[in-house]
C-alpha cells in the first residue's frame, strides 16, 4: 500500500490535484482512498459530483464514536475512489487539529485505512501538531508539496518542508519528501523556478501542471477533469502525474531554505 500526502498553501489547488490524481489512479484499476483533512471538507467534492459527504466528525458528533459505521464514513465516488472527509469545527471555534487526530483514530478502529493508494489531502499549512498527524508513523510515507511559482506559495511549501525535516529526524522516521508538484499560475519562468526550488530543498519537481480552463469547466460541472474531459490535454497531465507518483520510489529528507535564500531565488527567476 502506498500512502501519500499533499500539502501546500491554501487555495493553491491541492484538492483539485488530489481529486484528479485519485481519479487517474482509480481509472488505472487501483483501489484508492482519498481523505480530506480540512474542516472545509471540500477535498472529495468533485469526486462525489458536487455532493458534500457527511464528515467523520459530524457523524461522531451526531451518533457517538461507537455508533459510526464504515459505510457511513467511506463513500464511493468517481472511478471507484473511496472518499472520506475528516471535517471539523465551525470556523473560529474549537480545535481542528485535535479533530484530525480523532478522525485518524476512528478510521484506524473502523479498519478504513486500506487499499492500493491512500491520498491524504491536508489543509493549507502544518499549523499545529494535529495537521502533522497524516505525516506520523503508520500514515503517509511520502509527502508531496503543491506550489506555484508565487513567493508566498513557495514560502508555505518551504515551511511544510521544515515540518517534514523535523519528522525525518525522529528516531523512527516515518515520512519523507517525495517531490514537488508545480500547479502553475502561468507566470514567466515559473517551471524553472519551481524546479530550482525543489532542487534546493533536496527534492525534485515531479510534475508541471499548466493552468487550464478545462479545470474550471470541470469544476462548474462538479466533476474531476478525468471525468469531465478524459481526452483533454489536462487529463493527460494528471494521468502522467499518477503514473509518476505511483512508480516513484525516490524520497529525501528536505533541506528547507532560509527566507532570504527563498527571496533571492524568486528574484533571480522574476528577472528572466
Amino acid at each position: 500500500m502506498k500512502q501519500i500526502a499533499l500539502y501546500g498553501k491554501g487555495g493553491i489547488g491541492k484538492s483539485t490535484t488530489s481529486a484528479n490524481l485519485s481519479a487517474a489512479l482509480g481509472a488505472k484499476g487501483l483501489d484508492v482512498l482519498q481523505i480530506g483533512c480540512d474542516p472545509k471538507r471540500d477535498s472529495t467534492r468533485m469526486l462525489m459530483h458536487g455532493a458534500w459527504i457527511q464528515t467523520v466528525l459530524d457523524l461522531v458528533r451526531e451518533k457517538g464514536e461507537d455508533h459510526v459505521s464504515i459505510e457511513e464514513v467511506v463513500r464511493e465516488g468517481f472511478a471507484g475512489v473511496r472518499c472520506v472527509e475528516a471535517g471539523g469545527p465551525e470556523p473560529g471555534i474549537g480545535c481542528a487539529g485535535r479533530g484530525i487526530i480523532a478522525t485518524f483514530r476512528l478510521l484506524e478502529r473502523l479498519g478504513a485505512l486500506h487499499g492500493d493508494v491512500i491520498v491524504y489531502d491536508v489543509l493549507g499549512d502544518v499549523v499545529c501538531g494535529g495537521f502533522a498527524m497524516p505525516m506520523r508513523e503508520g500514515y503517509a510515507e511520502e509527502v508531496y508539496l503543491v506550489t506555484s511559482g508565487e513567493l508566498m506559495s513557495l514560502y508555505a511549501a518551504n515551511n511544510i518542508a521544515k515540518a517534514v525535516a523535523r519528522l525525518s529526524k525522529r528516531s523512527k522516521p516515518s515520512c519523507s519528501l517525495a517531490g514537488v508538484i508545480c500547479n502553475a499560475k502561468n507566470m514567466a519562468g515559473e517551471e524553472d523556478l519551481v524546479r530550482e526550488f525543489a532542487r534546493r530543498i533536496n527534492s525534485e519537481m515531479v510534475a508541471y501542471i499548466p493552468r487550464s480552463r478545462t479545470v474550471q469547466l470541470a469544476e462548474v460541472h462538479k466533476q474531476t477533469v478525468m471525468e469531465y474531459a478524459p481526452d483533454s490535454e489536462q487529463a493527460a497531465v494528471y494521468r502522467e502525474l499518477a503514473e509518476r507518483i505511483f512508480a516513484n520510489d525516490q524520497t529525501s529528507t528536505p533541506t528547507p531554505l532560509e527566507m532570504d535564500e527563498l527571496e533571492d531565488l524568486a528574484l533571480q527567476f522574476a528577472e528572466i
Partner: protein, 347 residues
Amino acid sequence: MNSKTLHSSSQRYEGCTLTGALSITSGVEDAVTVVHGPEGCAHHNVSLLHAVMAEQGRPALPRIVPTGLTEEGVIFGGEEDLAATLRAVAARKPGAIFVLTTCITETIGDDAASVCSEDYGVPVVLLPTAGFLGGCFSDGLNAALMTLAGLADPVEEAGETVTIIGEKNLEYEVEENFAEVERLLASLGLEVGLRFVRDARYADLKQIGAGQLNILREPALAPVGEVLKERFGTPYISSFPIGLEGSTAFLEEVGTLLDLQTGEAVQQEEERQRAMLDSFADLRGSVFSIDPMTFRALECTPVRRVMEALDLQVDADGAGVSLPYSPPVGTAGIRRLLHRWRRRVHA
C-alpha cells in the same frame, strides 16, 4: 506569550492557579463555582477541598460543578457546554456563579467571557485560571480576591467592624488562627464584620468597603490591601500576627491606625504570654532534633525566640519534632506548637 517562571521559594507559590481561585470561591456559601474543563480538573480540586474542609469540621461537599469537557468539546469548542452548564446551575438560583477556566479551554480559545456576559438571571463572575500560563496557587487566589474586591458596592460611611482578608482556607488551623485574631481585636474592643472570603455570602462580599480596618492574612496579599485602601480609604495591616512579639506589635499597630489606646491590652497580652511560657517550664533545657523537611522554619524569628526563652537546644540526637508549615499565629499559635513539642518529648 506568557513566559513567567515559578517562584518556588514561598509557601503559596506552588500548585495550580485553578486550585488557588477555588480555595476562595468555594468559601462563598451561596455561590456555585463552575469549572470549565474536563471532569478531572474539578474532581482533583473537589477531593482536596473536601478533605481539608472535612478535617476542619465541615463535611459538606464544595459547591463545584465541572462542564465536563470531552474530546468532542475540545474539537468543536466548549462554549455551548459552558452555556448549558451555566443555565442548569442558574436554574437552582445560587447567589452567584463563579466560572473558572482550565488549561484546555484556554488553549483552544473558548470565549468564556462572551458566554458569561449573557443573562442567566444570577450574577456570573469569570476568572481565567489556566495553570499552564505559569501562574500558581497564589496567582489564582490573588486574582479571585481582586476580582471579588472589584465587585464591591460603594460605601457612604465606614462602619465600626474589622474585615479579615484572604484567610488560608486550606490550612488545618484556619479557625484557630481566626479565633486568635478575633481575641486580640476584642481586647481592643473591636469586632470582626466580614471574613473575605470564609463563611460569607455573595451579597456580604459587596460590603468589603464597609469596615474601618482590613487585616490581610499574609504580606503577599498587599496588592488587595492597596486596591481597597485606594478605593475606600480603609487602612490595612499586612499580616496576621506571628508569634509572641508579633501579637503585641499587632495590637500596637491596630491602635496606631485606629487611634486607640493599647497600653492595657498590650500589658495583659504580655502577662498572658509569660503565664503561657511558665506552663511549659517542664520543657526547659530539652533537646530537639528538627525535622529536616521543616528546618527552614528555624529562620522564623518568633519560633527561635520561644526556643531561646525556654532554653531549648537543637541536636540531631534529640526528640524529633517538626515545625509548622505556616508560621504560628499569635500567642495561641505558639502555645499549640509547644503542646505538640511536649507530646514528642514525653512520648
